[in-house]
């Protein structure tokens, strides 16, 4: 079974700042990491490979330095890494990104075998859109399984998968047919450490590097800025909250008085919360009675 995991190299955490004069993003000196949400997808893919056999390929689109993230993924145990990099991809929005990745995924299928499962993380920590996964699914006509909390059952021979999906107000148990695109929910597993063997292999491994042309993309108007229907007109820092947290009076007070003071302040600010709590208390009372 062939599984592909799409990952993105992102700036570490939220340490990005806006230049106060030019209003542009200051990326300098901010370390990059694999998007943390993608690690849940990668670990799930590795577990399925360990159980059913086959290969895990990691794919990313980004600047040449995104190779670092792919190599990192290899140290965790991925079998192959593909870097899609070309100046024509610069400035892609989610629609242009899903186009380029879908084309690369077709090429991966041609060269290394059709994937049964394509994984992505739930979303990225820099863009936060959660749109690229569904975009890839639609373009490749894959059955789309977003926000998956558990893979309950997989039968690669019969091409059937059963999953738990985080839906609104509950969990859906779904079954569908391979090939599928899965976006994995956070906190569903813990990334392995990777073996020394994997680390040695990753250091020497050849990362497959494809330009747009290599990936078989000839319509460049669908890539990068030109292929992006959305345009970013303005980027700005949120207004800093001028005041700090309002302190509840605590000096020379008993804990009981402090608690009372807090409760009054809370209910005065958010009367709705008091109503909610009283309703909740009433149901508890009914149950006790």
């Amino acid at each position: 079974m062939h599984i592909v995991v799409c990952v993105k190299q992102v700036p570490d955490s939220a340490q990005i700042r806006v230049h106060p004069v030019t209003n542009t993003i200051m990326r300098q000196g901010v370390p990059t990491i694999i998007n943390p949400y993608d690690l849940f997808a990668l670990e799930e893919a590795l577990r399925l490979r360990d159980k059913f056999g086959g290969e895990v390929t990691v794919l990313t689109m980004g600047p040449p330095m995104a190779e670092d993230s792919l190599r990192k993924a290899l140290t965790f145990g991925a079998d192959r890494a593909v870097l899609l990099t070309d100046r024509f991809f610069a400035g892609s929005d989610t629609l242009a990104t899903s186009f380029a990745l879908a084309e690369a995924l077709k090429k991966i299928g041609d060269d290394f075998g059709r994937p049964s499962i394509i994984f992505t993380g739930k979303q990225t920590i820099d863009g936060d859109t959660a749109q690229v996964g569904p975009g890839i699914a639609k373009r490749l006509k894959l059955n789309q399984l977003t926000y998956i909390s558990k893979i309950e059952d997989l039968e690669p021979e019969n091409g059937v998968i059963k999953v738990e999906r985080r839906a609104e107000g509950g969990v859906q148990v779904l079954t569908t047919k391979l090939p599928v695109l899965i976006t994995m929910l956070e906190g569903t597993n813990e990334m392995r450490r990777g073996t020394l063997e994997d680390a040695l292999r990753a250091a020497k491994a050849d990362v497959v590097k494809w330009s747009a042309a290599d990936a078989g993309i000839d319509d460049l108007t669908r890539c990068g800025l030109r292929g992006s229907p959305t345009i970013v007109k303005k980027v700005f820092a949120p207004e800093a909250r001028s005041e700090k947290a309002k302190p509840i009076e605590t000096s020379e007070q008993t804990m009981e008085t402090i608690a009372q003071g807090f409760m009054s302040e809370l209910f005065q600010r958010q009367p709705e919360i008091e109503q909610d709590l009283l309703r909740y208390a009433a149901t508890q009372f009914a149950q006790e009675g």
């Binding site: 955490s13 542009t24 859109t129 959660a130 839906a167 800025l225 807090f262």
Partner: protein, 364 residues
């Protein structure tokens, strides 16, 4: 995986030509997708109707709601509510195939409606359902979609200006879809104001067929387990969350967090170090690599408030910090502070709330 915004490069985009292509000029009116799984409308749909009303009035066009479901009975209340919260028109697609949310039939229903009735703006809630559907619909229609917006506006030329946080909330950007229709956006719950409900307000219903049978849908729903019937942690959906950090000093003291949560009917969780120390399980970790929460009330006891924690909680309506250090980072984004030892404050709060609630519930 969207590329990071590059404001300086925006001018070179093909999308910036001002003249809308001829075939999009007929696209008119503002639409809101009404989320009504299992008979209940998600509040974000009403919030969107409130905002959609303003956008439609500014454009001088109609506001419509889209309601999909398994039967006429199942959606009757949702249709009525959609009018009462401000819609002029409701488009319905009713078919047993639509009983549970599934991507394929919902995407087909929505794209067929858009292609037939041609709205200029389509808004959805940034819920799991809304984000699953919006991504597919936008890709099928090959139009622009701005995710997770916190603010919507119409600019002077009539285009939708969608503002959203990016880089974990440390930046905001305003995004346009100038040359494609519809202009699509998802908006986070509880960001927009809930509009007044106008009892008895009604309007025109337009029904549209799904044109798809159960045999055409590959994905099957075997079961739906509602959260209220499950005992698992429901942090992202809780109205009140109480969490603890290293300031609690010991695993035993974490019980104080649970006690307060029990009285408030709240979910409980903790910062990442507590998971690493084994005081709580990973499914209760709050923060960037754990759960993102957006409750009405968040009480953080003994949590200093590192950036990774901050991005997971700052969507909360009211943040309360209990910490001995008045200069802890959490004080920069909390609304109320109790500068004291959490280990002493928590039992006092538990007792105060317990008393208040047991006395006042009798009055009701």
């Amino acid at each position: 995986m969207a590329e990071a915004p590059k404001p300086n490069a925006a001018a070179s985009r093909a999308g910036t030509k001002r003249e809308l292509p001829e075939h999009f000029k007929a696209y008119k009116h503002v639409w809101v997708a009404i989320e009504c799984e299992h008979g209940e409308v998600h509040p974000v749909s009403f919030e969107l109707l409130g905002e959609g009303r303003k956008l439609a009035d500014k454009r001088g066009v109609e506001l419509a709601g889209v309601v999909m479901g398994g039967s006429e009975e199942a959606i009757a209340d949702a249709v009525a509510a959609t009018f009462e919260y401000g819609a002029d028109v409701v488009y319905t697609v009713v078919d047993p195939v639509l009983t549970h949310y599934r991507n394929e039939p919902y995407t087909k229903a929505m794209t067929d409606l858009v292609n037939t009735y041609q709205p200029e703006i389509l808004l959805l809630g940034a819920t799991n359902l809304g984000r699953d559907l919006a991504g597919s619909v936008a890709t099928t229609l090959l139009t622009g979609l701005t995710a997770d917006c916190t603010e919507l506006a119409i600019d002077d030329e009539g285009s939708l200006a969608a503002t959203r946080p990016t880089f974990g909330g440390s930046l905001l950007c305003t995004i346009f879809t100038l040359n494609y229709r519809p202009q699509m956006a998802t908006v986070r719950p509880r960001v927009l104001t809930m509009p007044e409900r106008q009892e008895g307000r009604t309007g025109k219903v337009v029904s549209h067929p799904l044109g798809m049978s159960e045999d055409d849908v590959i994905t099957k729903v075997l079961q739906f387990v509602a959260d209220r019937e499950s005992d698992k942690a429901q942090l992202p959906y809780a109205d009140i969350v109480v969490a603890g950090g290293l300031g609690l000093r010991s695993a035993e003291n974490f019980q104080l967090v649970k006690n307060l949560a029990a009285v408030l009917g709240a979910e409980y969780g903790g910062s990442r170090p507590l998971v690493q120390k084994g005081w709580i399980t990973a499914d209760r970790q709050i923060g960037q690599t754990g759960k993102t929460i957006r409750p009405k009330l968040y009480i953080a006891a003994g949590i200093s408030g590192a950036i990774q924690h901050r991005v997971g909680v700052e969507g909360s309506d009211l943040i309360v910090a209990i910490n001995t250090d008045p200069n802890a980072p959490i004080m920069d984004f909390a609304h109320l502070a109790i500068v004291a030892d959490a280990v002493q404050v928590l039992p006092a709060l538990t007792e105060a709330f317990r008393k208040h609630l047991s006395v006042n519930r009798m009055a009701g």
